[in-house]
Subunit: 290 residues, 2 copies
């Protein structure tokens, strides 16, 4: 596995692959890799001749007061995980400042799908995400890029960007990967104390309740939403950021569960903000335990 | 010469060229081609194996009350001009509506260089320009793209986008091309009556005055600016939108003419808004007559 820190070297490597007729799969990450990230790498491995995995903690997608500084980093561990996952190039831009010129002034915004859910409580977050993803696409020239269902809104907004800006890349949304007890894997789980770690299961349980209600015939979105909220609030350390039932394509609030919908949760456990989600009626991407 | 109307066909053609190891030059235009456009095509011809020229009157870069509907169109003429200029593919998206999904929601903005000059009087214009240029770059995958010095601010903002989003494309800024009497060529010159056509020379004459003052030793930007304004106002049909002396890189108002600067004018002659510009000290790109 090759480690590339220089942006021009990454561009040149991707260009050389392309000239040699090889297809490229990209997995953009912020590092501190877990099994979820490695499943993205495996999907890329299956879909393309060469796999690049990028590790870059992108400052522009963190708001003031968010955890950019504390975001966990462990490059040595990430490196060996990438090696074992069959990654060809680990792209680790260094120095990190090289990614944005001091006077950078261009950004990409999305103004419909990014209004609600995480976009409402994290203003500027998705502009930061789209801008860095576009930069990574241009640097690594992927035929395929893989994103996780865990960040459901992000995945849909990136799909929208690829469509609206005609990016010549196929996007794959890979299933949400969970810990054995059902907690959605996240680099931020490291922030949880052991008590908070138990409390964090309230997100998954609320989604299980929603699915049970749906299977029992409930179709009214507001009823399901209220029952989830009641369930989460039984965990005293939980502070709900949002609990939403939205159309899976437009991310607009859904009145009824008819067309494909997304049930999305963001909950603070202590100081840690966690997200999780469930798609209905087809819940396969979400791996929610029975 | 091939004419391509379908976006997927254009993408596939560009991908096939790339696979065959051929470099691609792109000339994005809004059609109603004149000698200026053809000089861009010649530059692309010299720089790449294959030349694509796009013709698309982009609705998102026109403001309400601007001339999107009236913008001149003559596809038959454009087609034969492209043929004679050695264009390989004339990309003419059709139906025009196919370029933007009904629910398109992603745009690219630049928030420093686009504040002044045309950006001040045409809000949203440069976001429309950057968004369509990014789309065309993704569809046609150019190695080189050619833009004209005539639209000086546009050229600098597109350069900024290419840098900030790491587009794998080299940009060429081609010289401003003028009519024999010095009027900057523009598709919009067709709007001018014969009296207005004479009055339109006031832009070029103001720039000539600025250059003369500079050669005589003037270095104070405000003095030069005032003298240009006085000169333009001697033409009764002229309404000044702006007359600006700015740093050529940052487009911020310049106090003195030291580092490379751009003198940019936008003037309405009757209902027609015309622009022209001069770079100093190196004025070669502007072809301003002595």
């Amino acid at each position: 596995m090759q480690i590339i820190e220089s942006i021009p070297e990454m561009s040149a490597t991707a260009a050389a692959w392309r000239r040699a007729g090889q297809t490229i799969g990209l997995v953009p990450t912020m590092g501190f890799l877990h099994t979820g990230h490695l499943s993205l790498a495996r999907q890329a491995r299956a879909a393309a001749d060469k796999v690049a995995l990028s590790i870059f903690v992108n400052p522009t997608q963190f708001g003031p007061g968010e955890d950019f500084q504390q975001y966990p980093r462990d490059f040595a561990r990430d490196r060996s995980l990438c090696e074992s996952a069959g990654v060809d190039v680990l792209f680790h831009p260094h120095p990190a400042g090289a990614m944005y010129a001091a006077d950078h002034s261009v950004q990409i915004t999305e103004n419909v799908l990014s209004r609600g859910l995480c976009g409402a409580s994290r203003p500027g977050h998705f502009a930061g995400v789209l801008t860095i993803v576009a930069k990574l696409f241009h640097i690594t020239q992927p035929d395929v890029a893989v994103f996780g269902q865990k960040d459901a809104q992000q995945a849909r907004i990136i799909q929208r960007m690829a469509r609206d800006l005609n990016f010549p890349v196929r996007l794959v949304i890979a299933p949400l990967i969970r810990e054995p007890d059902g907690l959605a894997m996240s680099s931020r789980n490291i922030y949880l104390s052991s008590g908070e770690r138990r409390d964090a299961l309230c997100l998954m349980r609320a989604l299980q309740l929603a699915r049970r209600l749906y299977r029992e015939g409930a179709r009214d979105a507001e009823t399901i939403r209220r029952r989830m909220i009641e369930q989460i609030l039984q965990t005293p350390s939980a502070r709900i950021d949002y609990a939403a039932v939205v159309d899976d394509t437009t991310l607009a609030p859904a009145a009824a569960i008819q067309a494909p919908i997304l049930i999305a949760l963001a909950v603070r456990i202590g100081k840690t903000r966690l997200i999780d989600n469930l798609m209905l009626p087809d819940d396969r991407l979400c791996n929610l335990p029975e």
